[in-house]
Symmetry: C2
Subunit: 207 residues, 2 copies
Amino acid sequence: MAKQGLLLVVSGPSGCGKGTVCSRLIQNPAFLFSVSATTRQPRPGEIPDVSYHYITKERFLELVEQDGFLEYNRYATGDMYGTLKEETERKLASGCNLILEIDVNGARQIRARFPEAVLIMIAPPSMDELERRLRKRGTETEESIAKRLRRAGEELKEAPGYDYLVVNESGEEGLQKTADAIFAIVSAECCKPRRKQELLSALNITK
Amino acid sequence: MAKQGLLLVVSGPSGCGKGTVCSRLIQNPAFLFSVSATTRQPRPGEIPDVSYHYITKERFLELVEQDGFLEYNRYATGDMYGTLKEETERKLASGCNLILEIDVNGARQIRARFPEAVLIMIAPPSMDELERRLRKRGTETEESIAKRLRRAGEELKEAPGYDYLVVNESGEEGLQKTADAIFAIVSAECCKPRRKQELLSALNITK
């Protein structure tokens, strides 16, 4: 049997760079993105079952009723997004580490329903640096920057509930340092005795 | 202020190779051996304050009475060994990662008195391999091998109480893999939110 992979829940405020970090992680073949199910329509350029699993609202609700999601969320638009339990477990069993980019609310649901998950919060080096990054985009209004910073403060307050807090410094070097920290986290998590049941049994039984 | 180092408690049955692993770790300048205090006489080749701190029994008992040890133990010979609390805290504050090779009883004392410690159990790949390693020494009687194996089984039963369980495979490659696993553990532990108080304060306060 392949070694069970880890479910890595990655959160972090807008502008912390978590998307870039996750893209770096999946350059390693042991890592895969978790594919969410959604009731919204595909957007141009999106690929079914790669970007999202597109399902009807009826099917989504049926899965909710059947306890088929590890977490799900209804957005203000009415669109629903969720992480399929069966698919997650199947992919983990095949040995992949699954990356789930998700906000603090989703992370809280995962923690409750899948305690083996590893929760990682990506943080900017400082709120000033976060503001600099948001401004650099050049696409945000003052109002939206202020709103994102407020929201960032709220999200980062959840960090103590996460297993790990990784600061994503700026630049290529910072990015690689963040990715390396997450690789180290995966390696360390695999050494937790509760993830070593097979070895523990072997050591107790062989003699 | 230098970043606080980690206290790494390393246990493992006789023959698991923990001594060799620890020697490999301290080739990295961020790692230091913790120096125990003992009431026994120096042996030829030992260096005071490097091998041990040699102190009188009266001084040892005084330190016990003053709560000066993180853990201590009296051996069947009457000799006493202990880990000095003040020295440990001073070295950790300077940023060193301190390695404390100690048995499961000492580890239990450390856990209770210094919860920030990271407990690592080194295990052989199997009990058969452990037996092979003990026999290879060529210095053990059948009786002593049987006794060590029994004791190993008892020690390994404590693994679920440790933070990490690392299998030390045989050979140079196995040794380096074990050392790398421990480096990853240190790196991951430094990302625990409870070890990031400074960052957490900065992120909440700056804005």
